[in-house]
Symmetry: C2
Subunit: 914 residues, 2 copies
């Protein structure tokens, strides 16, 4: 007995039985589209009659060396006979011909990758018969033209441009598609046939059955097309699944005044409101709706035109939404007063709508709260946290340049090339885009004032990118632009923008637009969002903290739901313009006394910073990291100083006497500074004198920072607050480093508390950001009250990749060529860095089973990395404040993962185009 290769849409029961009553197996057998059409058919929804050739047939076809399996054509013929019976039309019968669409449909949606041929079953005879039957020659000829074109391209391999060329010259004569008259269409079919004769290896088959057979084989073969292969490769879809083929009776929305076609959404895809939405056209075909050649009408109007169909359509939309338990995007056609549903799928929606729909569906009892959580992706939350451009503007404004999409959101402002000027203009109420070759810590004030940041160099984790994400500023780095800082211009592909001219940045895509695009504001107070995140909080196990360096940021983070500060980078406080001179004095001090004096001057400033933070996070833990970066980051760069010296030297001979004296002093000072900078400079600063190495080398500084923490905590406590400071030591690689630094810290705490007569508990922990620390965690944890993985540096050292250098030099290539499938600076590299983290976690727990372990790198806001942290048993993740809502949802997803979800939720993902 031959295998069963074919199932009619109304044979869902058979398919289910043969697939062991498993919905995924049905989809594997019939493909997503086929399963879906059969499913609707079983629900009594009017889908055009048709049948599916199984994926197994495709696999067998390939296995036989591209030969049709035994019995397939016979089963197709039987199924076609049944379709004929239902429609009352007969395939290849000129008087009342049945036409069919031949559509691919794999198990997993591969949009646009595979082939479709419509109107199969026509030839000159049948055209004549149809014209006679319908009296609509233009419609019939146009359908034939489309068959020739699609068949020629898909089955016979004629380049589609060849058809387009002929078509557009005909259009040029006649206007749009719709208005091609009978004569033009008739000559077009002739031209298309000649084109096929000339270009293809075989002529167009006039026999309808041959057309059908050839089209089916073409779809089978398209599974192994280059583009389908690449798509599967990129999406991780198995190459051995094969595709099903759906053969569906054609229905025509352009069959007269009681015909029409359109699209309906069961809810509003933009706002998420629970209201039917859509467009339609009477006496038209689907393509006409999409092409916009005629103005469409709002779906509500359908009620007055074809009331019964309209009511049936709305009821069907509701039915399908209930059935698939999600908002549906439905294609329909009305043929002579009869409604046909051609396709239904889960509707596309904005992030805002996604949240509202999920919450509403749960509140309506259609899905559970857990399902609602899983319906929204963490990335959608992220999108919600930033303003967006409008779709119209994106389409209409000229693209100026492209770069790396390092920090999402839309920013519009005038180009400024200097951080000071940015600050000045912004304070005057201008919107600004800071444009720099690259950014440095001393540019931060400009970056914070700007609406967006654009740089010519720098990767995904460059300074600009990190700061931008931290502060939720849209930013594009490594853009294809040339900056002339003297002329104050930025140029890309021949277009030059001067300072003061408008630029718009789409941080989500990395696109720079010339001019001023409109934006829509972020909806952060969104009610549905609060509800959803509250549900997430009930589910998640991981705590979510924020990286915050000051009280403003801490306030914002707390509003977004942060449960403490996981990382306060004290050095960011040092870069403030009123503090940097003191810090520089400390570094350049020539005596210990001078150095101590500068450090003392920093004490009240730091204390005030910490008071703000501890107040903002009252009752919640605040992790304060001791100074981390190498000292030369606080000084001007060597090249800048060299430039200044050259400049001064050049001016010297021309200056008058007074000026000369001043210049000479400047020159000497600058040279001294340069010498100091040279001394401090390191060949690999990332691996140099920083972190705990600095803390041990400059005990006064450590002392001052710890003293500031303790004094701040004492003051907050005195005012009735509940401060929970935690001190974190960075870059520890050996437990002895931590032991010595901890002893210093402990001594200062005791001394300060004794002096103040207070007693606020201060925990002391360390970062695990050096491979050796991870490998020796069993010892390190003996000296730590908590651990926090610094995954940025841990990734750099584990990969031996310097982020800034690598991203432009080779990391992008690595992602392109598939050496890496993900940027390890965005998502934790589970097999390398992650393995080290698991080793560390396991070893730490040997010594201290209940040790609190968190993560405070960039990865703390990345959903996949959050999942990793959940699975590895961490206590919390810490991320930038804007990422906190994202992290809350991602943590809930991580907790829900592995919990079985009901069958219907799974079937949901079956719905889609293929």
């Amino acid at each position: 007995m031959t295998e069963r290769w074919v199932y009619s849409f109304d044979e869902m029961r058979d398919a289910k039985r043969d697939a062991g009553n498993d919905w995924e197996a049905v989809r594997a057998l019939l493909g997503g589209k086929g399963a879906n059409l059969a499913d609707m058919s079983a629900l009594g929804i009017p889908v055009p009659p048709g049948f599916t050739i199984t994926t197994k047939a495709c696999i067998e076809y390939q296995a036989l060396g591209e030969h049709i399996p035994e019995g397939l054509w016979e089963q197709v013929e039987d199924a076609l006979t049944r379709v004929a019976a239902v429609t009352g039309r007969t395939f290849a019968e000129p008087s009342n011909p049945l036409l069919v669409a031949v559509r691919s449909g794999a198990q997993f949606s591969m949009p646009g990758m595979m082939d479709t041929v419509l109107n199969v079953g026509m030839n000159d005879h049948i055209v004549d018969g149809m014209i006679e039957n319908t009296g609509d020659a233009r419609f019939v000829l146009d359908s034939f033209r489309r068959l020739l074109q699609m068949f020629g391209t898909v089955v016979l391999g004629v380049p589609s441009e060849e058809f387009e060329k002929v078509l557009s010259s005909a259009r040029n004569e006649a206007g749009t598609d719709n208005e091609l008259d009978e004569a033009v269409l008739r000559s077009l079919t002739t031209s298309f046939k000649s084109l096929i004769d000339a270009s293809a290896s075989q002529p167009f088959p006039t026999d309808p059955t041959s057309q059908l057979h050839d089209a089916v084989e073409a779809v089978f073969r398209s599974w192994h097309s280059r583009r389908a292969y690449d798509y599967r490769q990129a999406s991780g879809i198995d190459h051995n699944l094969g595709t099903a083929v759906n053969i569906v009776a054609m229905v025509f929305g352009n069959a007269g005044p009681a015909s029409g076609t359109g699209v309906v959404m069961s809810r509003d895809g933009t706002t998420g409101e629970s209201a039917i939405e859509g467009d339609y056209l009477m006496n038209a075909q689907g393509e006409d709706v999409v092409a916009g050649s005629r103005p469409t009408k709002p779906i509500a109007d359908l009620v007055s035109e074809v009331p019964e169909c309209a009511l049936e359509l709305f009821a069907t939309a509701r039915l399908l939404e209930n059935h698939y338990r999600d908002m549906q995007d439905i294609e329909f056609t009305i043929e002579n007063g009869r409604l046909w549903i051609l396709q239904t799928r889960s509707g596309k929606r904005t992030a805002q709508a996604a949240v509202k729909i999920a919450v509403d569906l749960a509140n309506e009892g259609l899905i559970t709260r857990d399902e609602a959580l899983l319906r929204v992706s963490p990335d959608q939350i992220d999108t919600l946290m930033h303003p967006q451009f409008t779709a119209q503007d994106l389409a209409s404004k000229p693209v100026f340049a492209r770069g790396l999409n390092v920090s999402p959101g839309a920013a519009v402002g005038i180009a400024v090339f200097n951080p000071d000027l940015t600050q000045q203009w912004s304070s005057q109420g201008h919107h600004t885009i800071l444009v720099r070759p690259e950014t440095r810590p001393e540019d931060v004030h400009g970056m914070l004032s700007a609406d967006g940041i654009l740089t010519a160099t720098g990767g995904r984790t460059s300074h600009a990118a990190l700061v931008a994400r931290q502060f939720g500023k849209p930013a594009i780095t490594g853009a294809d632009i040339e900056i002339d800082l003297l002329a104050r211009t930025v140029t890309s592909e021949g277009t030059t923008i001067h300072e003061g001219e408008w630029l718009s940045l789409d941080g989500a895509t990395g696109t720079v637009y010339q001019g001023k695009l409109a934006t829509t504001a972020a909806e952060v107070g969104n009610d549905a969002l609060s509800t959803l995140l509250a549900w997430a909080d009930q589910r998640r196990v991981l705590k979510v903290r924020a990286n915050a360096d000051d009280s403003l940021e801490a306030d914002r983070a707390r509003k977004f739901g942060a449960e403490g500060v996981g990382l306060c980078r004290t050095e960011h406080m040092f870069f403030d313009s009123d503090r940097l001179p003191i810090v520089q004095r400390m570094i350049l001090a020539t005596s210990e006394a001078e150095q101590r004096a500068a450090i003392e001057e920093l004490l009240p400033i730091q204390r005030q910073d910490f008071i703000g933070l501890l107040q903002a996070m009252d009752g919640l833990p605040v992790v304060i990291r001791l100074l981390d970066p190498p000292l030369h980051e606080f000084l001007p760069s060597r090249s800048e100083l060299n430039r200044q010296i050259s400049e001064l030297e050049r001016q010297l001979p021309e200056a008058d006497l007074n000026q000369k004296t001043t210049d000479l002093t400047d020159l000497t000072n600058t040279r001294t500074l340069l010498a100091r900078v040279e001394t401090l400079s390191e060949s690999n600063p990332m691996l140099g004198l920083r972190g705990v190495r600095l803390g041990l080398k400059l005990p006064h500084l450590t002392h001052m920072q710890v003293q500031a923490v303790v004094e701040a905590a004492a003051e907050v406590a005195r005012d009735g607050g509940n401060p929970r400071p935690e001190i974190m030591v960075p870059l520890v690689g050996h437990h002895n480093e931590l032991a010595q630094q901890r002893a210093m810290i402990h001594a200062t705490i005791t001394e300060t508390e004794t002096r103040l007569g207070t007693n606020v508990p201060v925990r002391i922990g360390t970062m695990i950001e050096v491979p050796r620390a991870a490998l020796t965690c069993e010892q390190i944890v003996e000296h730590a009250d908590f651990l926090s993985f610094g995954t940025n540096d841990l990734t750099q050292t584990t990969f031996a990749i310097s982020r800034d250098d690598a991203e432009s030099a080779f990391l992008a290539d690595y992602l392109d060529t598939g050496i890496l499938d993900k940027n390890p600076f965005s998502t934790i590299d589970a097999s390398g860095v992650g393995r080290l983290m698991r080793i560390a976690m396991r070893d730490a727990q040997k010594t201290a089973p209940n040790i609190e372990v968190g993560i405070c790198g960039e990865h703390g806001g990345d959903p996949e990395s959050i999942k990793f942290c959940h699975q590895t048993g961490f206590s919390y993740v810490s991320c930038s404040s804007y990422r906190v809502p994202t992290a809350r949802l991602a943590a809930a997803h991580a907790a829900l993962e592995g919990n079985p979800t009901p069958r219907n939720t799974t079937s949901l993902s079956a719905i889609g185009t293929s």
Copy 2:
């Protein structure tokens, strides 16, 4: 019954019995010296009578809060009575008094750490009696003076300087020690007594028994002195062992013309020749021999002075050597024609003597070959590989500066400040010392021409240090010197050396001497050394290869016993002055054609290099690493180019018209070069575009290098050789990198072999030098025929420490403050880096159980690291050619470790001063 606290020297049998017949337990009980004296006594060797108070007594004394355990003094009195009986003298009896030495003696030798008091048992009465008895007032008073001085210092805590002050003013009046006459000595004893009365908390005890008791307690207490504690801490000796106390009858070599004293060695400690050697003085005390106040006589002369004693002494020396199975250093005294052996211990020897003695003892059948191997430390072999300064010169020449002892050996030459000039002067036959602030790859020709290298900056693994060790050049880096490159001077502590003046470097100690010191040449062809290394080869499991970049080095390495090349750094070939311009052209190429042309030009040069290497290592594997360093290392530095530009700009206004044109062109070219250098520059080049990242980015270069290898192998094979090339890919962090690079390499091999019609197997492997590679070895090994740990980079990345930056900035502090106990760049950090290596090894063997694994970092020549490699199951180590003999022995030691060695070999280490 009270415990037994005391054993006389002739009660070895009791001690053995009480210690369970275990020699180590005897040493633990009696201390090394006591056990040794008892041992000699049992052998019938004439040691002065005496006894040992056990270590247990010391421990009990401490446990009782510094109180003498019950029964101890009684047992001491009994033992003292036995000594009196043997000597015929009586303690505290003025007419014929017994004097004793009270000496500490712990289980493990702690030279100079603990206390000794001689001549115990004297007071004014006894002095009178002794003078009457001996008729030698000067001798008796001098002995009393010494007792007062030692007792005052050790027991009563008077600062030794106080005594020295009084003594030296007396000496100033009278000349040397020996010539102090009776009157002076008598007044000295009075002064010393007054000094004690004035400074000490208690007066000098005139009762001999009190002296003895106080001295014993002082020795007990000295176990807990600060210096003894620190020494134990540093040597890893248990603080709870306690010390024994030996009480020995004094014998006097200055008792008349038939008395004398001296030292005899059973073999020559300088050359290792098997001939008795030593010095003596008649009518003198041991201190006189050491002080050199009178000229000593060669030991052979003793035969004519006291023939019987001489023959007995020589026989005893032979006996002791046979008994302890090692060359002995023996102290003896002849008192009135009677020989006394005061001490024997394993004799100090030069590295050369160590080798010869070990081999001779084995050949004489006294020790096994395995023992001979263990008698020589790998560091001694290392010392043998370099020329040495003579001891006289080291003592007499002025020290100019000190730095890091990064590459051992003695170098003498004139200071030169420029690599080109170094090359020029060296080629003219001058000996040169290249003096530079630091060295860069482009200085290598100068470094290779120089006799030694001295730099102001750079650590143990700086460029200068690495290259110097690689080529066996003595070098000192990070010295406390200031270099003025314009004035061509180097200054340290006020002394300035000009170019052309003589400097001498002791690379073994890091000392720089002013002037020209004499050296003795290295004995590399030493017969005994070859024999020893051949024995080592029979024992070791690890293979030893060499790091060699050219045929000269490979030849040398092979002579030293290398079994292949473990690392050929192809980039070293690129730095040659005739090649660098081509390499620079390749880097600076503005078109692919230009780049390929430069690469093509390098092909024949590389091929020739590889032919040389493969011929030198005919039949042995040669691992060729593809280009590793970042490209900017081949270009001038930014600061150098900036300097050139400033210079050209300065000259421009003053130049004439023709010159101006030339200058302008130069200026433009230099600016272009600078721009390119800026583009290539990286913030952390160590973590940047290098290794396989470069190999993937510049496929033409990879192709050229592989082609050169295959063509070279083909040519060597054609000439009848047996080439075994292996290609190694550096800096792999992800298995996909290796997979892609391997595919490139494989394609080139196939293509080249097909073209040439040859078929020489070429293995393809990779370095494991990035933590991620170690963590994912299970995958990486799927694409590798062999693995080689690059422990330099692996240490840098695992610690997140850049060697060059760290060593001057904080690593030295870390070693000082005990954060690190060893420099991880010298010895593999077993708990961090080593753990990663063990993980990698275990995982690699899961996939490929027989994978060949080696190590090619600096650690490959470090004995402790070699032991680690042996234990971890590596196949080979690779080190610089000069280190190959060291590594051969170290590998044998590693293999022998854990094998039990016979009892007497262990007892050997018991012998020493304490």
